[in-house]
Symmetry: C2
Subunit: 155 residues, 2 copies
């Protein structure tokens, strides 16, 4: 193995180590930042659930459970909490009365946007000083990861 591939190997190790640790810290910071705001009663998991419910999708309970890989019972419990705290509302579906569609309340939408703004700030910091072609590379890297995830988890 020559000097160049040794260097690449080291870079790979650096990137791999870095990734392993960063995510957990980001989750923690998301939660602590959100607790500094007016949304003190929200955990990282709930933030994630609010993000999944989304601004305007009106997804069903089952859809959200599938996306987050939670059992239906667990999701019901989580939704009860978020509803009690005033972040979401359940909308019963008139065309199929078995179905409950989920929506964010105005408070929930504020939380969603605050969370999104945090992520945008993170991305902006991450790509500070990058030009257009650098950013394309980053996109490519993320799409590669998505492909990898798709392959491993059987699409």
């Amino acid at each position: 193995m020559n000097a160049i591939s040794d260097e690449i190997k080291e870079d790979y190790n650096f990137i791999s180590d870095s990734l392993v640790d960063i995510y957990d810290q980001i989750m923690r910071i998301e939660e602590s930042e959100i607790k500094k705001s007016r949304f003190k009663d929200i955990t990282a998991k709930e933030l994630h659930l609010v993000h999944t419910i989304g601004l305007h999708d009106h997804k069903t309970t089952s859809e959200v459970a599938r996306i987050l890989r939670l059992s239906k019972g667990t999701l019901t419990a989580n939704l009860n909490n978020l509803e009690r705290k005033g972040y979401i509302s359940r909308i019963s579906n008139q065309r199929d009365r078995r179905i409950i569609n989920l929506a964010l309340t105005s408070k929930g939408r504020l939380l969603y946007r605050a969370h999104y703004a945090f992520h945008r700030k993170l991305v902006e910091q991450c790509l500070k000083g990058f030009d257009g072609s650098d950013i394309k590379k980053m996109k490519q890297a993320l799409m590669n990861v998505e492909d990898f995830i798709g392959e491993v988890s059987g699409r």
Copy 2:
């Protein structure tokens, strides 16, 4: 706002959205991949703990609790589980007998390496087709994120 910065804005949105979703999927895949191997009794959280304990560091219980931001009681419970399953061992410190140093058993080290190999595969897939300067950019982006995390969490 002109066309170029609109495009950058879109790229930022893409990257931001992508990041929000990818991590959770990676955690899930890590766990499901590890469950396909001989290490069927390991959860993603335990994988994370094994990674933190590390191959040769012999960290103390308190150090690990601080790194993972777990209470000491929670960590004791987690360590009991991993010890029972044969992945870690507690080494009582002769110089200060209050201290317990943590080590992976040989089974634990095998798990560590399997997990690390998965991450390396992920990074290799992610950087497929990238040259040396692209990889430098990726490192820079990750260091920027680490800086951001440092700033927000007060170093």
